[in-house]
């Protein structure tokens, strides 16, 4: 009875033990799996995933609190508008003219005089020490040169270590000097030309209005990528993915079922941030929020697919986190979230165009600040849908139902 694996036909014991008739019933697949149970499998998967989310309180709290902290930071603390630059003055002239010039510096919002220096050394020392960002020196011969009709020079020392402050100080310094010159040469006559700038959509140039629409997009991206990458990698780590492969679940059912709860969660977060933006930071939503939500759908799908792609590449949650962050960082820097796209070198400008984040941030600012609608944003929608289709197709292909 032993199969010694030779050429002789084995007379195995199964021949008697397994009559055909009895086996036939075993070969019939149970009726419950004969009907297309696809939706049921997706539903079971989604419900299980929802339970994971609800059970993992710390992750849930993190995902809900992180955006609020981030918003308060960006909305209140960070002000990109330069105001009240600490300034030190060295007035060696001490005349009516020099005081008049200093008053015009003081009256601009930009400069705040914090100290007076007695000599050149004190002036530079204060800037090196960081007590003042700007030093203004009016030389002894200032009034004399003005009266003689010569060009009177004023030295403005600017601390270049904070570039945005430096740029502002140089511009405002020039503008003040120019105005002073004009008023002097016109001698009381009105200015021939005056620019009347009007800032549209964000008249007070508040940075909350600029940052929060972008923040909504960036946080949704971060959340969608990390959640979806984690969802698969967690099952890889625990060995449950291998178990799932042994069940009749098809790859697309697995992916759809897993992604649905995360899609909903990401949308909830998006809406939550929008709500806080509207109520706490009083940023008006000038366009249709529904339009923005519709545009967000393909974006979130792209990011969920992206996370899926990450999950096929790594085997641990730490690894997934790292790869996710590594791919999110360029998006944050190149998407125009912080740094304006218009001032990017050509190469990076082109890179920015293939980042989905760029398009949704632009659309979000469009809807929220400029009140843009479908007639302006249909192109954005088209591009975002195209990106979603490509990313989802590629990552689903990689998630083939084969164990590596």
């Amino acid at each position: 009875m032993i199969e010694k694996i030779k050429n002789e036909p084995p007379a195995g014991p199964w021949a008697e033990k397994a009559p055909v008739t009895e086996l036939a019933s075993d070969l019939v697949v149970p009726t419950s799996t004969q009907r297309p149970g696809s939706w049921q499998r997706i539903h079971s998967m989604a419900r299980k995933e929802l339970l994971h989310i609800l059970r993992d309180r710390s992750t849930l709290l993190m995902t809900l609190f992180f955006p609020i902290v981030e918003m308060i930071m960006l909305g209140y603390a960070i002000d990109t508008n330069v105001r009240n630059i600490p300034t030190i003055i060295l007035d060696q002239c001490k005349t009516e003219e020099s005081r008049r010039l200093l008053r015009s510096f003081e009256n601009s919002d930009d400069f705040q005089i914090v100290a007076w220096a007695g000599n050149d050394q004190e002036l530079t020392r204060a800037i090196v020490a960081g007590q003042a960002r700007v030093g203004i020196k009016i030389p002894e011969n200032y009034s004399r040169q003005l009266q003689a009709g010569e060009t009177a020079q004023v030295l403005i020392l600017v601390d270049g270590s904070v570039s945005s402050v430096a740029g502002e100080a140089v511009n405002v310094g020039n503008a003040i000097a120019l105005r002073e010159s004009l008023e002097r040469s016109l001698g009381g006559k009105p200015l021939p030309v005056e620019a009347r700038p009007r800032v549209l959509f964000n008249p007070d140039t508040r940075s909350a209005n600029f940052f929060i629409p972008g923040l909504m997009v960036v946080l949704s991206q971060l959340m969608a990528i990390t959640l979806s990458a984690n969802a698969i990698v967690r099952e890889k780590e625990k060995g449950t993915l291998e178990q799932l492969y042994m069940t009749p679940v098809r790859p697309y059912e697995l992916i759809l079922g897993k992604m649905m709860p995360y899609l909903v969660l990401t949308f909830l977060e998006f809406c939550g941030i929008a709500f806080l933006m509207r109520t706490v930071f009083a940023v008006p939503i000038n366009g249709s929020f529904i339009t923005l939500l519709v545009l967000t759908l393909p974006f979130v799908l792209t990011m969920l697919g992206w996370g899926l792609w990450v999950s096929t590449r790594v085997n641990t949650r730490e690894g997934a986190m790292q790869v996710a962050m590594a791919t999110v960082m360029p998006c944050i820097f190149l998407s125009g979230y912080v740094f304006p796209l218009d001032s990017m070198p050509a190469f990076f400008w082109y890179v920015a165009q293939i980042i989905p984040t760029t398009w949704l941030i632009d659309a979000a600012r469009g809807v929220i600040l400029r009140g843009a609608g479908w007639s302006e944003l249909w192109g954005h929608g088209l591009i975002l849908c195209l990106m979603a289709a490509i990313v989802l197709a590629l990552s689903s292909l990689r998630m083939q139902k084969r164990l590596s």
Binding site: A18, R41, G239, L244
Partner: protein, 327 residues
Amino acid sequence: MQPSLTEYPAQVGRNPHAVIDINGVTIRFGKFTAVDHVSMSISKGEVFGLLGPNGSGKTTLIRALCGLIPLAEGKAGVLGHDVATDSELIRSSIGYMSQKFALYEDLTSNENLDFYAGIYGLSQSEARERKAELIQQVGLGPYLDRLGGRLSGGWKQRLALACALVHRPRLVFLDEPTAGIDPVARRDLWDLLFYLSSEGVTLFVTTHYMDEAERCARVGYLYQARLLTVGAPSDLKHLEGVNPPGTRRLEILGPDVGHLLERIRHRPGVYQATIFGQAVHALVDAKRSLRDLGLEGVEARETEPSLEDVFVTLSRQQDEARNGRAG
């Protein structure tokens, strides 16, 4: 003296009605051959044990039988379906339990069962009925609302088995189901397995434990991707290759088995010697007396080979055959 254990021609069409029927199955990953021309057949209700060292291809073979890995050569049928074409049908009618007990630790026992019931497409009423039955069978009642991660090893394993059985599979693969489980839980699991077998469920079990192998109706031994032998444990012990003519197997008792082993290991006429609990098992030349072997005054008696002896002997012969061919 060496039986031919190196050539295994594919045996085609042996039994088309078997629950599992494998003919000349070969699986390759690149140049590496993970399963090499394996043929066997398993019938309904059988408890089949597959043994072999780690990396010998046991898990790969199971995956291939579920249609997850393509076959490089050969044919395999599971429950009458071809693994190459009907893998989805196969997967919906088999159960699988891995050594890791693939449970969701943050879900309760009940939720785990619900999930698998949904995945296997049971309707709500079917699921309720089946769950009650399983809970009673594996005795999960008191632990239904406990999180999977909080269960002890034995209970995790029962829950994993219940999940694998939720759709009433006619065939269950168990990949090292008792690794790292205490002896009582192991025994309980085997009781459950025999109960299933009596219900007509076919069980395909991989294990490293010889006592578990002894319980199987038939065992196969996979070594370096090749199936060296298949048969009932009692029959394997009488294999010619394991008991070469002109040899006998002795059980030698002594106070210091380590010392005893050293003493006889390199004696002429001793082919094999290993420690077995409080004794040394040795395969010796039948013509030599105890005195020749330096065993006067030591208690020694003739014995049957254990299953372990069988596998060790077959592995060595395979190694020698391989080396012989290479040299």
